[in-house]
Point group: C2
């Protein structure tokens, strides 16, 4: 019996550690590997020899880790060179794995990580090295192809929907109320912003407008819509995705975007503030508030969805099983089996199909005016948002455990 290794990459989620625990406990049960190692700080850390043995920690530590948000093994945004450019890194990594008698490598991440899995499995096969490479999905953005949804999304959706309800109430208390703008993350896709459609009072959606990047944003129509709604009800609640773009394809918030990350992704943020200033300048009202949820969306374990946590755990367990069956170069996908009651199953999808690909929010779930969603969106979202796990809600303050500190 040899060993396996798991590592995390990219932006954190609330449930990413559950996938690690799912894999570890599946191995405890099935006895596939002697030890489950963890690479700290993803590929970057493994290349530095930063490896720990998860099998040596106590059950209490593992249980706390399971309900700790953010990447408790540390993360990286390390992009491996193209094989055509240089195989040095690949050779070094494989040497490190061989030196530790590692026969399976698991990477929890988004489409960049699946690119890494695809490249590594291709290179290992080409060089006749028997190590299995399996990807485990995670991203709050829900933008991976083929899988019905990604672990991390349900909890972010629950936090967003809950927060929309609460801030809607907070902005509704006076006789003369103002305009409230909530800005969500999501990059080029509107999945996170769409979760606002779940927030209802007396069966009616509380958000008046929801703007997603999948529809071109028209400033003039926006101001017309907001003005009319404000005159009608003396209050407007707006949800906007950070990544909305004009018809010319420019980010609406581009004036506020200052930098690009290492992969060339624009560092977005600030569209809420931009729209707030726009409304004030237009003279509709001066009573405008904007709130950027920021990183809370991806780490608010205190408002996590239990179904999301369980699925994150299961995709980890499934990855271990598939590696033990000899699979390589795949990511675990989630298939929705039914909505009522909600059930799902797992399947394999080639990692290179996920890499460098984006699943957009379906435009047929956006209304004709481009400022709201259709009931299909709610149908899709609702089952993913469940109760907070008891272990979280019954602690005064959480007992968190990470391995990268």
């Amino acid at each position: 019996m040899a060993n396996c290794i798991i590592a995390q990459s990219g932006g954190p989620t609330s449930v990413i550690n559950s996938s690690v625990v799912g894999l570890l406990e599946a191995n405890n049960k099935l006895g596939v590997f002697n030890n489950v190692y963890a690479g700290l700080n993803g590929i970057e850390g493994i290349l530095n020899g930063n490896i720990i043995n998860l099998s040596s920690f106590s059950q209490t530590e593992i249980n706390n880790f399971r309900y700790t948000p953010s990447s408790g093994l540390g993360s990286c945004r390390y992009k491996m060179k193209k094989l055509e450019e240089s195989t040095d890194e690949y050779d070094r990594l494989l040497e490190i794995l061989k030196a530790n008698d590692i026969k399976a490598f698991f990477y929890v991440g988004g489409n960049d990580s699946m690119d890494t899995i695809a490249k590594l499995s291709y290179y290992a096969e080409k060089t006749n090295i028997d190590i299995k490479f399996i990807g485990i999905p995670k991203t709050i953005d829900n933008d991976l192809m083929y899988t019905d949804h990604t672990p991390g999304f349900g909890s972010a959706a629950k936090f967003i929907a809950t927060t929309v309800l609460e801030t809607y109430l907070d902005s509704s208390v006076y006789i003369n109320n103002g305009i409230f703008i909530l800005e969500t993350m999501g990059r080029d896709t509107g999945w996170l912003a769409s979760a606002a459609s779940l927030a209802k009072m007396n069966g009616k959606q509380v958000a008046d407008f929801i703007y997603l990047p999948e529809v071109a944003f028209d400033v003039d129509k926006f101001l017309m819509d907001v003005k009319a709604k404000f005159e009608e009800q003396n209050q407007v609640y707006i949800v906007v995705s950070e990544g909305i773009r004009t018809a010319e394809g420019k980010f609406v918030a581009e004036s506020n975007a200052q930098a690009h990350d290492k992969f060339g992704h624009a560092q977005l943020g600030g569209v809420g503030l931009f729209l707030k200033n726009l409304i004030i300048s237009s003279g509709i009202t001066k009573r405008v508030k904007s709130l950027e949820l920021g990183v809370l969306q991806r780490c608010a374990m205190h408002c996590a969805s239990n179904i999301d946590l369980e699925e994150a755990y299961e995709v980890g367990a499934e990855a271990l099983k598939q590696a033990s069956l000899g699979k390589c170069g795949y990511m675990i996908g989630i298939k929705r089996e039914s909505n009522t009651p909600y059930t799902s199953s797992y399947f394999l999808v080639e990692a290179n199909k996920i890499a460098n690909n984006v699943k957009y929010f379906p435009t047929e779930w956006i209304n004709e005016e481009g400022n709201n969603l259709t009931p299909e969106a709610v149908e899709y979202l609702e089952p993913l948002v469940s109760v907070v796990p008891t272990v979280v809600s019954t602690s005064k303050l959480p007992e968190f455990k990470v391995f990268n500190k």
Copy 2:
């Protein structure tokens, strides 16, 4: 048997509706009044005749209302004229109360509301009108004198401490991390920011620096402290209260009004954004994030403290009892009886002692350097932050109920 009325005023909290339900259910039990009326939108609404009968709603509606954040009776920021200026409003209000056979008036609010209670009770007594006026405390700011703490504060403190822990983890995942700044509310006092001291990993406070308005903020020392800490641990976590001031008494964030975007709109951000820009300009690092918690602090029922909810309920019940005993012109205060186990009792304090008065965070609980707190702060805060009520954590999405919509 006559009737009573209750209304809410000022900024919302997560637990303000619990006080209304506490009073309503105490009346159901004790049978003091025929009906418990509610004035919608505070004094302003009552003057418009906007009154409903709470006793006519179903138990389900009342239960949902109890766990609904924000002022579910609506609110106002209406300041009554001084009696010397005009008694017109007072006469009108008393007429409305008499017309509805109301013998007791309860106002849930902060120090402005207690000013209203003091004035109304004085004027009623002077004009021989037998109506009791009692104040019920509420404010997330915890800045009312005499009471050990205010309902609303514990839940805000729980949300802030939890969020500090979660965002600390979120900002700690890479090999090279940056600087994270969390901005809390609190106006002129540091109570809310102080709650960050509860956030601990392995028994150690995660916030490196906590800045309160009670100590003058020195920009140069701040940059020196942050630089040294960043060099030491390659990561800094900072908590700052919105109301910090320079030695000259100016708000630190005030100078931020100078920043403009490319359209010439003022980029009015808070002090967190200001400090972020300051750190970047100083050359310490460009990897700085700031997060303004904003109104989430006062409406995040999904992370409420059960002890806070219960005390909010009890101060409502106590107000009813004291009115039935003939008390007038008082606010209900909370006395801390013991910390382990935490117990408290209730007492009366003259409303005019609360009005126009502010309880500051004790400077003896701030360290000598002015950038962190002493263990006394944690001792004070810890008992107020308890588990989330089961009714909240066991719902997929909350079923909220308000009366002002």
